[in-house]
Structures are given as structure tokens and as C-alpha cells.
């Protein structure tokens, strides 16, 4: 038993391994890519943005236009109306 504790001999007891355990391991990789820590979280940033919106007042932010007073200056696009300052 002493040798076993130090990893010198294999365990006499068979390890319990769930059937199709590879499926659960593959699920971990896929969740990392597609889950909240991956595509569904960092890339699209739905969760962090929802927190920011909640903190700053979601309805007010949604109603306000992206350009103009209180937001970014409207960009100048040749051929369209003159850019606002």
C-alpha cells in the first residue's frame, strides 16, 4: 500500500470510468469554444454587455441613437450630409 501511495505500483482496484467518458470530455472542449467562455460569451459578449446595460440603464441606452448628443460624433461620409461636430 505504501508503494501504491507513491505511484510505484499500479492500483489493485480497477478505476471507475464512466461509459462513453470521451463524450463528456469532448463536451468540455466544445463548451470552451461555444459556451459562455467562448463564442457565446467573449466573442458576442452578451453576458458582459447585459451587465453593463443593467448598470447604466438599459432602456435609456437603447432609446438613445448611436450618434449625436451624448454619444459619438457622427462620422463624415462623402456624398452624404456634412458631418456634425
Amino acid at each position: 500500500m505504501g508503494l501504491m501511495r507513491h505511484g510505484k505500483v499500479p492500483s489493485p482496484f480497477p478505476q471507475h470510468v464512466a461509459k462513453h467518458v470521451g463524450e463528456a470530455r469532448a463536451l468540455y472542449d466544445i463548451v470552451k469554444h461555444r459556451g459562455e467562455a467562448g463564442a457565446a460569451g467573449i466573442v458576442q459578449a452578451e453576458r458582459p454587455l447585459s451587465r453593463i446595460e443593467h448598470a447604466e440603464g438599459a432602456s435609456e441606452a437603447a432609446e438613445r441613437g448611436p450618434y449625436g448628443p451624448g454619444s459619438f460624433p457622427e462620422p463624415y461620409l462623402p456624398g452624404e450630409k456634412e458631418a456634425t461636430q
Binding site: A18, K19, V21, L27, Y28, G35, E36, A37, A40
Partner: protein, 294 residues
């Protein structure tokens, strides 16, 4: 006979095999046909839930999906922690169709079945403490506990949060008491029966965990209990295996036998010693078996 998908969890697969063996032997006597789930993993306990919440959700969705694939409408658990984790995941998935679709897409990508929300997660305790299960239990427990004084210990995760669990009153549960009485035993009442056993913090704060653990054992002993019974293998591990730690820390040797719920009912139902496996316990169950002359 009611068919249920059976998820035994990690502890009953490993250190608490006696719980699985007793449950499988007892199930037909209380009208349950167990369809054991083999291609499933740990529910993640409290650890994965904290560290990787999204993976926790996927792991539990996969277990629920395999349970649903058996055709049963009930997923039976024998562990408080599994019950809470699975019910929490089920509640979350059923309440958010977009989330369920994302999780199902990921399950399909690894070859697992999809989950459509057709399963209810129920602890074995709940299945035999009410309704038809309770009636069958009363018939099965013909051998009886002969007035044995039993202290029920619920543990926390089968009671709280009650919004997710909801079977017992979290402050005044009585399902274990009903079962003990139906088996011909006398239920001991004591305040710490609904407290935490200390398992989740034993690694981080052993002194705090042991201070939690000593309360139910000490109170049950003082109330004159012959043994304690618990529906949770993690509580069983704490209560049974760590009495030696309590002896070192407090100088008191309680020698309190701790029974799994399936073993207690199994004794009353006349299960054989090979189905009860009391020899796997750390604290001897001999005082109980001698009283009952098993």
C-alpha cells in the same frame, strides 16, 4: 412497477458502493424498476458548478438527456448533492428555451442525445416517503426495526433551497421520520438534523467542518439514538468516517452507527447481509444488528 432512470452518482459507484447495492436490492420491494445510467459522469458536485458554470450545465443536461432516452419520466437519485445539481440544471434549462437549444446543439455535436425537458429528478427518499411508494414500503417493511431508536439526519442539500427541492418543509422536514415509523422504529427529534454535515469545507477549514459535524452526532447520542440514518452518501461519509477525527479533536468516542436510507429500509424489509454490506462502514453497525438479531 414504476420504471425510473437510476443515477447513482460518484460516491455510490466508489467509496459508498454499499448504498448502490442496498438500493438495487431494495428497489423491487418498493415497486421500482431501476434502469441504470451507465454512460454518465459526475454531476460536478459543488465544485464544477462554481468553477465552470456553463460546463456544469452541459454535464447535467447530458445526464438528463440520457435519463430521458430511457423512456422513463423520472430520474431517481440517491444523493443530496446530485439531486440539487440535477434539479437546478433542469429548472434552468426548462425556463430558458434559447439556452436549452444552445446546450442541445453542443450535446448533439459530441454525439449525446438531446434533452427536451421530459424528466423529473426525484430523490429515492421522496419516492418512498409518499404516495404509492410509501404504501409499498409499509408492506415491504414486514420485518420491522423493533423499536430501534433512529436519529434522522437530512443534510442541507435535500432541503435547501426549497424553491428547487420543495418536497419537505426545509425547517420542519418529516419524510425520514415517516419512513422510520413505517419501518417500526422510533424517530429521535433533535435540532441539528437539518444542519450541514461539514463535508463541503473539510478540505479548506477542517476545524469548522468538525464543529458542524459534532453537533448532530452529539445531540443524537444524548437523545438516546441507537443509530443515525441519512439520505446522502456525502453526509454518510462525514458522519461515519470522521468520527475518528472527532475522537482526536474532542476526546469523545461516539461510536454512533450511521446507516444509509436504503440500508435502514433494507433491514426492515429483510435484505440479506450481502445486500446491506455493513462491513464497509467505518463505525461498526454491530450494536444495531445485534439488537435486531440480523
Amino acid at each position: 412497477v414504476k420504471q425510473v432512470a437510476y443515477y447513482k452518482g460518484c460516491l455510490a459507484s466508489l467509496s459508498a458502493k454499499e448504498l448502490d447495492i442496498a438500493t438495487q436490492a431494495l428497489a423491487p420491494k418498493v415497486g421500482l424498476e431501476l434502469i441504470e445510467l451507465e454512460a454518465v459522469t459526475c454531476c460536478g458536485a459543488g465544485d464544477i458548478h462554481e468553477a465552470e458554470p456553463d460546463y456544469y450545465l452541459h454535464l447535467n443536461a447530458r445526464i438528463l438527456a440520457y435519463a430521458e432516452a430511457t423512456g422513463a419520466d423520472t430520474l431517481m437519485t440517491i444523493c443530496n448533492v446530485c439531486t440539487l445539481n440535477l434539479r437546478q440544471a433542469d429548472f434552468t434549462l426548462k425556463g430558458d428555451p434559447a439556452l436549452l437549444e444552445r446546450v442541445n446543439a453542443n450535446l448533439a455535436a459530441v454525439g449525446a442525445p438531446r434533452y427536451s425537458g421530459g424528466v423529473e429528478v426525484l430523490h429515492f427518499l421522496w419516492l418512498i416517503a409518499a404516495g404509492e411508494g410509501f404504501e409499498l414500503l409499509q408492506q415491504a417493511a414486514h420485518r420491522g426495526l423493533k423499536g430501534l431508536r433512529i436519529a434522522p439526519f437530512y443534510g442541507c442539500q435535500i432541503l435547501r433551497p426549497s424553491k428547487l427541492l420543495g418536497f419537505d418543509d426545509p425547517d420542519r422536514p418529516d419524510s425520514l421520520e415517516r419512513i422510520i415509523a413505517a419501518c417500526g422504529g422510533e424517530a429521535i427529534d433533535y435540532p441539528a438534523k437539518i444542519k450541514c454535515c461539514g463535508f463541503p469545507i473539510i478540505q479548506a477549514r477542517e476545524d469548522v467542518a468538525l464543529a458542524e459535524l459534532v453537533q448532530p452526532i452529539e445531540q443524537a447520542k444524548e437523545a438516546g439514538a441507537d443509530a443515525m440514518v441519512t439520505p446522502c452518501p456525502l453526509c454518510h461519509l462525514s458522519l461515519d468516517a470522521w468520527q475518528s477525527k472527532l475522537r482526536k479533536q474532542t476526546g469523545r468516542d461516539f461510536q454512533m452507527p450511521i446507516l444509509h436510507l436504503s440500508q435502514l429500509v433494507g433491514v426492515a424489509a429483510g435484505l440479506a447481509d450481502s445486500e446491506l454490506r455493513f462491513k464497509r462502514h467505518v463505525v461498526s453497525v454491530a450494536p444495531v444488528t445485534e439488537k435486531l438479531a440480523v
